[in-house]
């Protein structure tokens, strides 16, 4: 036995190796925050108008929809699943919420009830997707892809090609309101973030999501009802999409299917760039907040720099692949799909 009480020098080397590997993992886990700070610093110098009070408010405002979407998606990706239903479902919820409040088309005026019903619709569709995925044993990729197409169809059907304009005072104040300098819609998004954080850290549901994502065998042995958890995860994702749809409708004051367009892939990118791998088990909602900030700031920064429209997409692609490449494990035996 050597002085540390290890059975041989080899065992001590092993212990040191473990400590080193832990340190590396911790640095890699912090990479997204580093990238975020780097982007903010770089853009503050290079892009004039970036670090102004108004632009920060703009960024926070534009953050609301990708952040809410990424909250639901984080839990889905933690289970190594996917939810593509956002495009159609977000459009559907956005369309019907405007039709139900005071608007230019229908004579309904259900006020706050409209928001509840619309978000509940998102929740229900999420549950349906979860049930089909779990009991139909069908890949979540295809189920949610088909669900998106179905809900997009119902969205356009709801206003039959003539979108309604909102005349609901509360929505107008919400879309322009500020509280402590932060736009009200962003407060709603932060509320969803807070709920997601509590769900992840404080509830048994959150624990079981990590357990299933990390090691489904142990979760099964401990007698957890895996199917129920999976359906709840898709339900929560549906609810988040519902909220995002309502926020989208409030922001543009109109109810049309375009509210959901191009919202899913930026949200998935935010979750992955934030540090939740697509194979699940690691990461969480805090990581996704950082990811959502990165994605929003890249988009905002490129416009402030007046970058030519043609190459904006390319620059976004390069930044995202660099961010992920920095925080990826490269051991020989590491399997990346």
């Amino acid at each position: 036995m050597d002085k540390h009480g290890y059975s041989s020098p080899i065992a001590e080397e092993f212990a040191q190796e473990m400590v080193r590997r832990n340190k590396v993992d911790r640095i890699v886990a912090m990479a997204p925050v580093g990238i975020l700070l780097f982007l903010v610093a770089l853009l503050s110098i290079v892009a004039d108008g970036f670090f102004t009070g108004y632009n920060i408010q703009t960024i926070l405002g534009q953050l609301s929809i990708p952040l809410v979407m990424s909250m639901g998606l984080t839990f889905v990706i933690l289970l190594a699943g996917t939810d593509l239903s956002g495009e159609g479902l977000g459009g559907f919820v956005g369309s019907i919420v405007i039709l139900m409040v005071l608007n230019t088309k229908t004579d309904l005026d259900m006020g706050l009830w409209a928001i509840l019903i619309a978000v509940a619709a998102g929740l229900v569709v999420g549950i349906i997707s979860g049930v089909i995925h779990v009991y139909g044993k069908m890949p979540s990729f295809i189920v949610t892809y088909a669900m998106s197409s179905i809900m997009a169809g119902f969205a356009v059907l709801s206003y039959r090609g003539q979108p309604a304009m909102s005349k609901y005072e509360f929505f107008i104040t919400l879309s322009r309101g500020r509280f402590l300098g932060i736009p009200s819609l962003t407060w709603i998004a932060l509320a969803i973030f807070a709920i997601s954080y509590v769900l992840q850290e404080r509830t048994r549901f959150g624990e079981y999501v990590f357990a299933i994502g990390d090691n489904e065998r142990v979760a099964k042995n401990t007698g957890i009802n895996i199917n129920r958890i999976k359906i709840l995860v898709f339900a929560w994702s549906g609810l988040c999409i519902g909220v995002a749809g309502v926020l989208g409708a409030i922001r543009i004051g109109r109810g049309e299917v375009v509210i959901g367009k191009d919202t899913v892939f930026p949200a998935i990118t935010a979750v992955v760039v934030g540090g939740t791998p697509l194979t699940g088990g690691r990461g969480g909602v805090v990581h996704s907040l950082v990811g959502a900030l990165i994605v929003t700031i890249i988009y905002n920064g490129l416009i402030l720099l007046g970058v030519s429209t043609y190459i904006q997409a390319a620059i976004q692609g390069v930044i995202i692949i660099t961010a992920v490449a920095l925080s990826v494990k490269r051991g020989r035996k590491v399997v990346t799909k």
């Binding site: 036995m1 540390h4 009480g5 290890y6 059975s7 041989s8 020098p9 080899i10 065992a11 080397e13 092993f14 212990a15 040191q16 190796e17 473990m18 400590v19 832990n22 993992d25 911790r26 509590v198 850290e201 404080r202 509830t203 048994r204 549901f205 624990e207 990590f210 357990a211 994502g213 990390d214 090691n215 142990v218 042995n221 401990t222 007698g223 957890i224 088990g281 690691r282 969480g284 020989r332 035996k333």
Partner: protein
């Protein structure tokens, strides 16, 4: 205090897997407040018995009783409910959750208020449980992935102690399967102190370990298993390492079983040579030569570094020090494929995860290591594959409805034969066999031994990690003994003068 004379008993326990009998009429008894040691070689059935007690699997026949009444657990949760808990060999903790969350994983009900977990109370109880077994320095808020291996093991043990004593503070049974392999000296002392604290309160422990000195130090009574049968039951007073070795190994299997007569005399051409080979944190200073027709047996217990040595030789890992020379050239393999090109190929230990592609058919699996041999005009011809596979299925008498059968369908023994057929079809001349007969029925074992003899007779060299010490000695012409990453002994094992197991065991353990 449950004062039933026998806490736990198992009688006439038989456990059969397709083609192999892991346990054969085994019986074991545990009295309240006692530590029962359980020793035996790899594959003697120790872990299988623990799985039956934990309800992970059900015995084929035989009966178990707990505190006098019949005990037939179907799931680990049922076993926990009856006061039986087990620390698994491979980690069963959730990396991303905290220590507190892991200890109470699946048992959050008392801390739940409308689905919300009262973390403060949970962490307080966790801190109490950890303190109870003498662990002060682990904070329940820390995530498992931030802890080192030894601490994780301590958390596992704390978790089992807490799960087991939920029913009542005494009359429980705790199963420990090789808990000390990652612990250092004072961590082992701490574990023993906790075991004694548990037994003083009327609970019992079954302690499985390959470190005989530890077993002797802590156990009241020691069962010795051999080949799935009771070999001996010794009281702590009249047991010592020598007797245990002797009971563990029993009589060396007959030379005929290992086809010793057909053991080839090694040629002098050196196929593979390692000088001062080392891999930081796993093993170091290994020197070995593999000549044509030679079988180099490597013996050592779990964590001795023998498996990591195999991984380096077959290109699955890279080495950090020393030199590896294959067919005269210094090599540093970037992948198993590079090793195969240089003529080195391995039979992995975990057959299902590492040796076969379960969905692929038999003939596809066999051809996978040497597609060149089955190509016609650049395309792999299925006809050639099938014809070659038919020959191997006949030669190795693989029991299968047809060669297009997915290998996932076959029994352990037959799947292993398919792996051997793949090795034979490849033109590798240095083979690394990692526990080739693990989980294979006795009949198939003998066929594999004669197969090994044929292979060496055809001039190939071999590094063998024997499933049992007996097998190592029987097959190998040269033996290297490793312990905790270092080579502790080296000796020849010619056909005529096979060394005694006792001679080797003392360097292993």
């Amino acid at each position: 205090m449950d004062t039933h004379p026998v806490l736990f008993s198992a009688k006439g326990i038989v456990k059969q897997y397709p083609g192999t009998t892991a346990l054969n009429e085994v019986e074991l008894e545990v009295r309240p407040g006692e530590v029962v040691g359980l020793v035996g070689e790899n594959g003697a059935g120790k872990s299988t018995l623990l799985k039956l007690i934990m309800g992970i699997e059900q015995p084929t026949s035989g009966a178990m009783t707990m505190r006098g009444d019949p005990y037939t657990p179907k799931t680990p949760i049922e076993a926990n409910g009856m006061g039986v808990g087990m620390v698994f060999q491979e980690q069963s903790l959730i990396q991303n959750l905290t220590v507190g969350q892991n200890i109470f994983f699946g048992l959050e009900k008392p801390y739940l208020k409308y689905g919300f977990v009262d973390k403060r109370r949970m962490y307080e109880d966790a801190r109490r449980i950890l303190a109870e077994i003498g662990i002060k320095r682990i904070k329940p808020e820390r995530r498992i992935r931030d802890l080192d291996f030894a601490t994780r093991q301590m958390v596992e043990i704390a978790k089992v102690f807490s799960v087991v004593t939920r029913r009542s503070a005494s009359g429980n049974l705790i199963l420990l399967d090789e808990p000390t392999s990652v612990l250092n000296d004072d961590e082992v002392k701490n574990l023993f102190a906790n075991m004694r604290r548990m037994t003083e309160r009327g609970n019992s422990v079954i302690f499985v370990s390959h470190r005989l000195d530890e077993v002797l130090e802590i156990s009241n009574r020691i069962y010795v298993f051999k080949d799935g049968r009771n070999a001996a039951l010794l009281d702590e007073a009249d047991a010592d390492e020598a007797i245990l070795y002797e009971k563990m190994v029993g009589k060396t299997a007959s030379g005929e079983y290992y086809k010793v007569d057909r053991q080839a005399v090694p040629g002098d051409e050196v196929l593979l040579e390692a000088t001062d080979l080392g891999m930081r944190g796993f093993f170091g200073g290994v020197n070995l030569k593999v000549r044509r027709g030679e079988v180099v047996g490597i013996c050592g217990s779990i964590g001795s570094g023998k498996e990591d040595l195999c991984a380096v030789v077959c290109g699955d890992e890279s080495y950090s020090s020393g030199k590896l020379v294959v067919n005269g050239k210094v090599r540093r393999f970037s992948s198993p494929r590079a090793a195969l090109k240089a003529g080195v190929l391995s039979i992995p230990k975990e057959r299902r995860e590492e040796g076969i592609i379960a969905e692929a058919s038999i003939h596809e699996n066999i051809a996978m290591s040497n597609y060149k041999a089955f190509k016609r005009f650049g395309l792999v011809s299925t006809a050639l594959e099938r014809e070659h596979a038919k020959r191997h299925v006949a030669e190795l008498s693989i029991k299968t409805p047809g060669i297009t059968q997915s290998v996932g369908f076959l029994s352990g023994g037959n799947a292993q034969k398919v792996v051997f057929a793949r090795i034979l079809s490849s033109d590798a001349d240095v083979l690394v066999l990692n526990h080739p007969t693990r989980g294979v029925d006795v009949g198939a074992k003998e066929e594999i031994y004669s197969l090994i003899r044929d292979i060496t007779a055809s001039g190939k060299g071999m590094i063998l990690l024997g499933d049992t010490l007996d097998e190592c000695i029987g097959l190998a012409s040269r033996i290297i003994v490793m312990k905790d990453g270092l080579v502790t002994h080296e000796l020849d094992a010619p056909a005529g003068a096979k060394p005694e197991q006792l001679e080797i065991v003392k360097y292993m353990v």
